[in-house]
């Protein structure tokens, strides 16, 4: 879409929204947010980008195919379930490691998987529709 105002605003907004998406993803365990919300936020950012600059620019920016991203997310979520059985617990049991003051665990990896799966799915449909 040819609109100077929108284009200028988009350049500012997309970066901010993506950074905010990462923030929402990470804070999700304690405050409102999480992988799904973050993926929607990032999806909206890319949608804005696609509307102003065209879907090709988005494809160039994310480098990998959206469906590959979605599959990677699914694989990551599955992989997050494996440390459980390795430690003798059922599949997908949360395993936590204490790294100094913060606890890092498999649910974080799982949430990252959710993020990528949902974002990849949104982008694949969105870009396809835009190109249509």
């Amino acid at each position: 879409m040819q609109s100077l105002v929108l284009q200028t605003a988009t350049r500012l907004m997309v970066g901010l929204m993506l950074v905010f998406a990462v923030y929402v993803l990470l804070r999700g365990h304690h405050e409102p947010g999480g992988g799904f919300a973050a993926a929607l936020l990032a999806g909206t950012a890319f949608a804005l980008f696609a509307i102003t600059e065209g879907p090709d620019q988005v494809r160039r920016a994310i480098r990998i195919r959206p469906l590959t991203m979605a599959m990677t997310g699914l694989a990551l979520a599955l992989a997050a379930g494996l440390p459980g059985p390795a430690a003798g617990a059922p599949f997908l049991t949360g395993i936590w490691w204490q790294a100094g003051p913060i606890a890092i665990g498999t649910p974080l990896i799982f949430d990252l998987g959710v993020f990528l799966a949902v974002l990849g799915s949104i982008l694949s449909m969105l870009l396809c529709l835009e190109e249509n």
Binding site: G28, H29, H30, E31, P32, G33, G34, G35, F36, A37, L40, L41, G43, T44, A47, I51, L67, A70, M71, G73, L74, A77, L78, A80, G81, F91, L92, G94, W96, A103, G105, P107, L108, F110, D111, G113, V114, A117, V118, G120, S121, I122, S124, M125, L126, C128, L129, E130, E131, N132
Partner: protein, 756 residues
């Protein structure tokens, strides 16, 4: 189809991957050989891992005499076939895939014969069905191959469902799934009220898999698979899975008149029908396919018996058949590979150009015909002994065996004499012998047919006896010997050979008669299958045409009507009692939000431009999200707001492509009224339902659990997210899998539309 290898010389001579991967079956064969001496002594190798204990499903494997006999056949044939295919298939596209299917099939087959759990056996059973489908349809650019693959899948897969039903009936009757345990409670199984149902279900599975009449027709059609596959799956191994199951369940289920009578009759009919039809075709592979049907019938007949003799006959003929049939299939493949045809009318005199193949075929066919000194002779003698001693229908069993064997002798003569003897025809003089990889299998199996025929005592002590006594309670010595003295079986053997010679002499006359009769048949089982399939597809097509008529408006109307009717009929009678206690209280800002939502809704309904309608929809969504926020659910509010935003983008991408609203004809008045009624009905039902829901006291025990454990067990203060990614993460995994699949399907739908 296959590239012309011998002429062009450009295609690679040999597929290295195939050659290399033949080490897998060879290694497994060697492993089985290492275990062999101990199995002969009566030792049993067993391993057990739990899989789903609550379903009585375990990864339980058990190597006994019967499993060993089948395992040796599977791995040996697997080795020769892989070696053979590495040359035969050279130049085919997608060879990697081919060898993966082939070895996958072999492992699944080993799984069947080594399973000690019926459910596990079923898993492997289905795996062989699917891999067989993939292998029959390997030339998937040919419509015929696809059709035949589908037929095999539908017939054997449908039978597999019956088998599963039988197994589950057995389980529901309280019997263990472990086969070794089941074998000890055979009397209870046979006395159970469900026994006939269990038997019939399992029988259908066996009959489809092992090509018994009336489910036999898929097997000759499966010959559209590449020849190594036909040799491996549809001659030596997979079709024997049904026979194996019968033998494996022998201790648990055999011995009733139902078992013996049914199997003897079905087996006899299949043997006769297969043997008679083997005279018909000119395609060598189809001839072999019908003789396989005959063998499967005979095996079923003897698996029906309860005596040691009957089981010995089954086990011996199993070996005889596996050796000669695999050898013949591979040899026919060699002929096809070198000459480009399998048509009996176009072949002749090949002994001059392919002497070694001719030698192997001679060994195999003489064994097939049952000449003395060959293993087939031993097999035929014991078959007659077993048939004469059959508990039920011994006369029919003997008659069926005799006629089928005589026909086999004649067919063996056809297979040996027609392609190899006589003058060379046409361009056949240019044909040369196949390389060693394709000769080794037929040669070794042909030689084994002679060696086993000379030392039958060794075979009976080391292979037959352990196999039979794995499934039969009385242990007595089984001795296969070369010469029994002059007795009825020997006389029958002589009668077989002379009858066979007679049939061979009159073969063209018999063939004409057979083809005429086959043509005049007004009812055939393949025909029934075809018309059944066609009727099914037509019905499904009509039904889909009604239900999925392509109008979004109709879909939505149906969905909303069903919702109103289903919810309303249950809910409305309770409404008067609930309506009294409703109280509307909340912050004043909520009232303002509701006003906003109402205005936005009005905007959607009255919009004359699509962009306005879309904007109104966004307003409704944003209003609802704010309501969530006001009532203290920030997580839901955030998600709702984001979903609404994205939905808006998607909806505008799609709706704005449609013709402008203002140019479209305004809907008729009646339609507008109908839509309004539907909307109001759905809204009223939902609203009253929600007011009802909030009056039911909330069960807070789950909430209390999550409040107590969220930080302690899952290191998170946001309970909603902790539930999503930790406590109920398996649900989430399923959900994201659905999301990804939906996106994948959606993308393909959009792309397809674009291509059109």
């Amino acid at each position: 189809m296959r590239p012309e290898l011998s002429q062009t010389g450009k295609a690679p001579d040999c597929c290295r991957a195939g050659l290399f991967s033949s080490l897998l079956p060879l290694g497994l064969f060697v492993l089985l050989c290492l275990a062999w001496p101990r199995v002969v002594q009566g030792d049993i190798f067993a391993v057990h891992w739990d899989w789903v204990p609550s379903l009585d499903l375990a990864l339980a494997f058990r190597l006994d005499g019967l499993g060993l006999l089948f395992g040796l056949i599977i791995t040996m044939t697997g080795f020769f076939v892989t070696l053979y295919a590495s040359t035969y298939m050279a130049g085919y596209p997608q060879l990697g895939r081919f060898f993966v299917y082939l070895h996958g099939f072999m492992l699944a087959m080993l799984g069947i014969v080594l399973s000690d759990n019926l459910l596990l056996l079923f898993v492997f059973w289905e795996a062989t069905t699917i891999l067989s489908f993939l292998l029959i349809g390997f030339d998937h650019d040919q419509a015929g191959a696809r059709e035949n693959a589908r037929q095999a899948l539908l017939v054997t897969g449908g039978g597999g469902l019956f088998l599963l039903m039988g197994i589950l009936l057995l389980k529901s009757a309280g019997f263990p799934m472990a086969i070794s345990l089941l074998a000890t409670s055979g009397d209870l199984v046979r006395a159970h009220a469900l026994y006939p149902a269990i038997f019939l279900c399992i029988l259908v599975g066996v009959m489809t898999k092992s090509g018994q009449v009336p489910f036999h027709f898929w097997l000759p059609n499966a010959m559209s698979a590449p020849t190594p596959i036909s040799a491996f799956l549809h001659a030596a191994t997979m079709v024997k899975a049904g026979i194996f199951l019968l033998l494996r369940l022998h201790p648990a289920m055999a011995g009733t008149p139902l078992w013996t009578g049914t199997l003897v009759l079905i087996g006899g009919i299949t043997a006769l029908w297969g043997a008679i039809q083997a005279l018909g075709p000119c395609d060598l592979k189809r001839v072999l396919a019908y003789t396989t049907l005959m063998a499967l019938g005979v095996l079923t007949l003897f698996a029906g018996g309860q005596t040691v003799l009957s089981l010995t006959a089954a086990a011996t003929f199993l070996m005889v058949h596996a050796l000669y049939k695999a050898a013949l299939f591979l040899a026919v493949g060699s002929i096809d590979h070198q000459t480009g045809t399998r048509d009996l009318n176009r072949l002749g005199g090949l002994v001059k150009c392919m002497p070694l193949t001719a030698l192997a075929v001679t060994g195999a066919t003489l064994s097939m015909a049952g000449f003395p000194l060959f293993f087939g002779f031993i097999g035929k003698e014991i078959m007659y002994e077993g048939a004469l001693a059959q508990e039920m229908f011994p006369v029919f069993a003997t008659f069926a065996t005799l006629v089928a064997n005589a026909l086999m002798t004649a067919v063996a003569a056809v297979i040996l004499i027609t392609p190899f003897a006589g003058p060379l025809r046409g361009k056949l003089s240019l044909v040369c012998e196949v390389p060693w990889t394709m000769r080794l299998g037929p040669a070794v199996m042909g030689i084994l047919g002679v060696v086993f025929g000379i030392i039958p005592e060794w075979v009976s002590a080391h292979l037959i006896e352990p196999a039979v006594f794995a499934i039969h309670p009385d242990r007595e010595e089984i001795r296969l010997v070369f010469f029994h003295g002059i007795n009825l079986p020997l006389l029958l053997s002589i009668l077989t050979l002379s009858l066979g010679g007679l049939i061979y002499g009159f073969r063209s006359f018999l063939r004409q008669g057979l083809l005429t009769v086959l043509d005049r048949l007004w009812f055939t089982f393949p025909g029934l299958y075809q018309s059944g399939l066609k009727g099914f597809l037509t019905t499904a097509g009509r039904f889909t045409g009604i239900v999925q008529n392509g109008s979004l408006h109709t879909y939505l109307t149906v969905i909303i009507l069903v919702m109103i009717a289903a919810v309303g009929s249950v809910w409305l009678p309770h409404l008067p009692g609930m309506a009294k206690n409703v109280s509307f209280s909340g912050p004043w800002i909520a009232a303002g939000l509701f006003g906003f939502i109402l205005i936005a809704t009005a905007m959607v309904v009255t919009a004359r431009h699509r962009i306005l309608a879309i904007g109104g929809l966004g307003g409704v969504g944003a209003g609802v999200a704010l309501v969530f926020l006001v009532f203290g659910a920030p997580d839901i509010a955030l998600t709702q707001l984001l979903v609404e935003t994205l939905t808006l983008v998607f909806v505008s991408l799609i709706l704005l492509r449609l013709p402008p609203l203002e140019k479209a004809n305004p809907p008729s008045r009646s339609r507008t009224l109908r839509n309004a009624g539907l909307s109001l009905g759905a809204g009223l039902i939902t609203a009253t339902l929600l007011t009802g829901v909030v009056q039911i006291p909330l069960d807070r025990s789950l909430t209390a659990f999550f409040e107590a454990n969220s930080v302690a067990a899952a290191h998170g203060r946001n309970i909603v997210n902790v539930i999503l990614v930790d406590f109920r993460s398996f649900d989430t995994l399923g959900e994201i899998a659905v999301v990804v699949l939906a996106a994948w399907a959606g993308v393909n739908l959009i792309r397809r539309r674009k291509e059109r």
